[in-house]
Symmetry: C2
Subunit: 387 residues, 2 copies
């Protein structure tokens, strides 16, 4: 072996933290396998090069038993494994691969969080706006209170009809009006026409109110149209983007967040991501998925199903998302949690209490529930959010 | 409401089939919710337009109790729901959204398969080669037997060292030599140098053998580099692509499959996808995920963890993948299942018996196990595959 093939990595590492069922001894052995699985994926005893053992393969740094037990009843340990920053390269796709690629196929291993040194986190711009940037962008009316959001729907209505809703939502005090994530570029609700109509409607309302409500069209799209749609939307007057990274891939959203011609706030939608957290003992924690990974991938707001809605998250899981949105991640900005999924106006004071003012409250269909005066319904929503 | 806003959809529908725990009556009620959730996502009673009820909202077409019970012990029903083809639009991202977007967030609902009318399936080119096309592409030596595949690893070796492995694999009779999915574009194993070195090594071996072994570099990459890397790889002499759609997004792979300047066979890697099938009672079935969705997204070969390897799939789950690879899907070609994940040469006759000759057998690290003569080890693999 000539010297030229010797590795000379920095020695800097990032840490992935997993929960694994089993005793400390069992989990130590499994964790050792993960160190190999996520890097060389090769029988360790067949690797003769010392530098590969020392510089490439992951390293178990701690195994601690957790109090309580897993949903399946076994005891559970928290394991921290450190991987060389160079193995993750400079790419979000490969970083996610090291954190959770092949181990996703193991039934009983949950990625609960990760920590990166500045040499790795600085490779990611993360959220362009973040909490503070988005508040500044919205202006002085959007301080010391949760931001208010709603969705443009139902599918089947024409862009013109939907734009009447958008106009009223903006008049009524909504900050962020997002497309329903089911509005793509269907024959009956084309993206171009929709973005133009709704951007215009919200602009008119803003002129009347003097406020700055944003319209965020859904630019979730095929890989070869994603950037194009987002750039078009900005030119057409949209105020931000709704993107479902479960459909575009995480890096699709990152691409929009980083692109200078896009440059608008991003709300991330959880469509297609649910299985990552419903996996028993496995998958990815709510905080790592909806919080940390969304931040890495450039979301400014992360939408998720609130506890007690028509989905299934618990209060602890929702708190974990808030933690993922706000825990230190190098220079990456903190982002807004946006609890949603069948929320109702009467629950707003409770949500405000639970999430505090650093949140986006998202009410969809229920804004249509209390009579046909949408402007007034939005005002009731705004009023409830200030209690 | 003026006439111009009336919908005029074709009435053609595609069917999503789910498994849901509960009695027939319970599941019927839940299924009705799914019809709304995946389309209008809006309180049904607040939609006054008859055309939206009739033409947009999904429709429950059957609810049948299944024999046996779910892993959690409840009775389970199979539910077929039909959605209008226009709701899925012409985009893989939106089709996946309708099949499994928001319902992914429900804990107890599993997408088990889907069926599309020709008007929808014909929007997707699917696999460029498929089983027959890939065999034709490989030439007359690749008939009536499983194709043989291995992986280039371990990470940490230089492109030059790895190319010596590739040369020997090709001499020894491997058909498809793929990069390990952990090789991205790291500082110590740059993509360009690797693709050039390994493509050249495999070309030299092919000149000696007269056979046509393909080298498939991993082109999994950030969204803005994916197409570029795949096109570069072809120009540099690569024979195909390894892509992990769990990292790029499904449509990233579809983009490569459809691109005329790429135009090479694709092996799909399961990294990051595992949670979809480990979800208890939820997620997506092995057949729909590794089979059907891979086909829609243009994979020619789908890699998955074989039963009895270092992961956790059962024999039934592996059979379900074969079903997803081969069941009728309009004009979409059938694709190869590629059982992998800690496979050993001594298990090859058993694998051949289980999967038949219409498969790709993938052995990674174990090819290095029986002494350092890699050419001879590959010949043993080939010999075992013909038994």
């Amino acid at each position: 072996m000539d010297d030229s093939s010797q590795l000379n990595l920095s020695g800097e590492r990032f840490a992935a933290v997993y929960h694994m069922p089993g005793s400390v001894a069992q989990v130590e052995a499994l964790a050792r396998d993960i160190c190999v699985e996520q890097t060389v994926e090769f029988p360790e005893d067949l690797i003769s090069r010392k530098d590969i053992h020392e510089q490439i393969i992951g390293r178990v740094v701690s195994v601690e038993p957790l109090e309580g037990s897993s949903p399946s009843g076994a005891s559970v340990c928290e394991v921290a494994i450190e991987f060389p920053v160079e193995v993750a390269g400079c790419e979000l796709t490969q970083l996610l691969n090291v954190l959770y690629g092949n181990v996703s196929l193991k039934p009983s291993l949950r990625l609960v969080r990760f920590d990166m040194p500045a040499s790795l986190s600085s490779l990611y711009k993360g959220p362009r706006f973040g909490c503070r940037g988005l508040r500044d962008h919205l202006g002085t009316g959007a301080r010391d209170r949760p931001l208010l959001s709603t969705a443009i729907k139902p599918m089947g209505m024409s862009p013109k009809e939907l734009s009447e809703y958008a106009y009223k939502f903006a008049l009524g005090g909504i900050d962020l009006i997002k497309d329903d994530h089911g509005l793509a570029d269907q024959s009956f609700v084309r993206l171009e026409e929709r973005v133009k109509c709704l951007s215009d409607a919200v602009r008119r309302a803003n002129e009347e109110t003097g406020r700055k409500c944003l319209y965020l069209p859904n630019v979730t799209a095929p890989a070869d149209q994603l950037l194009e749609r987002a750039r078009f939307a900005r030119r057409a007057g949209a105020g931000g983007y709704l993107i479902a990274p479960g459909l575009t891939g995480w890096d699709g959203m990152r691409q929009i967040a980083d692109d200078e011609q896009c440059g608008l706030p991003i709300m991330s939608h959880p469509a297609f991501l649910g299985a990552f957290t419903t996996s028993q003992d496995g998958g990815i924690s709510h905080g790592a998925l909806y919080g940390q990974i969304n931040r890495l991938a450039g979301a400014d707001v992360t939408i998720f199903p609130n506890y007690g809605g028509r989905f299934s998250f618990s209060q602890d899981e929702c708190r974990d998302i808030v933690d993922g949105c706000t825990r230190p991640m190098g220079a990456l900005k903190t982002i807004f949690p946006a609890p949603a999924g069948g929320m109702k106006v009467e629950r707003v004071p409770e949500l405000r209490k639970f999430y505090g003012s650093e949140s986006v409250l998202l009410i969809g269909g229920d804004l249509h529930r209390n009579g046909s005066d949408l402007v007034e319904n939005c005002r009731q929503f705004a009023k409830a959010s200030r209690r």
